[in-house]
Symmetry: C2
Subunit: 210 residues, 2 copies
């Protein structure tokens, strides 16, 4: 019977209650929809249903919000990478290849998020340790995989840090070229293309050891 007192339910909690999470979730949604990370903080607030100044109660500024979102992206990417390697428990070569494919696939599926994660707007300044740590963890996964391959005899005697950087560069560059529409027409079966390239890389490294 509709008491006259405002119920503390869905309709309009005068204090949103969970804005921080909502803002991040909305930002993720906008990343997916607009394929661009340069949305407006005010637009974000609008979609979250709050005033344009509300976000500032939870984030110092726009960059801090974006950094957090980017860090989440790294977490998701890392998960995909680990999943890919675990699919080939005893085959370092296959692991490395699968890792690369997972990397590129993530970028192609989440282009805006990927660009945000690696873009210069957040990368160059040292003010966001959250993002820095997340990015380092991604890098570490790459290095680890190459180390395992090296231990299994791949890569010959080359410095494994350099080989790791080469592997990372290869997939990172491919991802960038693909999502920036630099490779046209964008191949329908990106997976096959990526597989071909990563396998060629591994094979080359393999052959070079002999």
């Amino acid at each position: 019977m509709n008491s006259s007192k405002p119920v503390k339910q869905h309709p309009r909690p005068y204090h949103h209650g969970d804005l921080r999470r909502t803002l991040i979730a909305t930002a993720l949604k906008m990343l997916r929809q607009d394929q661009a990370w340069d949305f407006t903080l005010r637009e974000l607030a609008r979609r979250a249903g709050v005033s344009h100044a509300a976000p500032y109660r939870h984030f110092a500024d726009k960059r801090e919000l974006l950094a957090e979102v980017a860090a989440l992206g790294h977490a998701a990417l890392q998960e995909k990478m680990q999943e890919a390697t675990q699919r080939h428990p005893d085959d370092p070569k296959a692991q490395l290849s699968a890792l690369g494919q997972a990397y590129v696939a993530f970028a192609v599926e989440n282009p805006a998020h990927f660009r945000l994660m690696f873009g210069p707007e957040l990368a160059t300044d040292p003010r966001h340790p959250v993002l820095q740590k997340a990015a380092d963890a991604t890098h570490a996964l790459m290095i680890e995989a190459v180390r395992r391959s090296a231990a299994a005899g791949l890569f010959g005697t080359e410095d494994s840090r350099i080989q790791a950087l080469a592997a990372w560069s290869l997939v990172h560059g491919l991802a960038m070229l693909l999502i920036d529409n630099r490779v046209r027409p964008m191949p329908a079966d990106v997976n096959r293309l990526t597989a071909a390239i990563t396998k060629a890389f591994v094979q080359g490294a393999d052959a070079a050891t002999r």
Copy 2:
């Protein structure tokens, strides 16, 4: 000898006279100085010594100006790439390696320009054919070099388009990771690092043919 009539010389041509070129030149200067391409159109006008609306007499909007600047970057990069290949007239392997090094060196020396050239802000929309053509020409140089190497027996039987994409991805990714400070500490001798990686790639491809 100094007629009283306003000479059409340096001091203050009430009509700047060569604004278009000046704007582009100033933009290039700001790219170099600020290491960022997101400067303000108004700031650009200020430095060029004109009012904030003057640029609109020469460019439809900011993106058009940026597209032109990016296209110039491609031209410069292509020059460096060609120069590098011509340094090794009869050695396709060395050519490919030198090309890659030139590519990365350009990126490291002109990070903001490089990011502008390949960034999504101008790449994804089809509205700037100038830039599109310039970028395609860069790509073509890459393909050409790989084709020559393939003709010389490198790469075995692999599809040369795929190998070209792999080579491009490698150097592009390395460039991106370097200028985004993803590889830390930024190695003082980037050239040695790049040389090691490109040579490893060529050697791998070479070994794979046998």
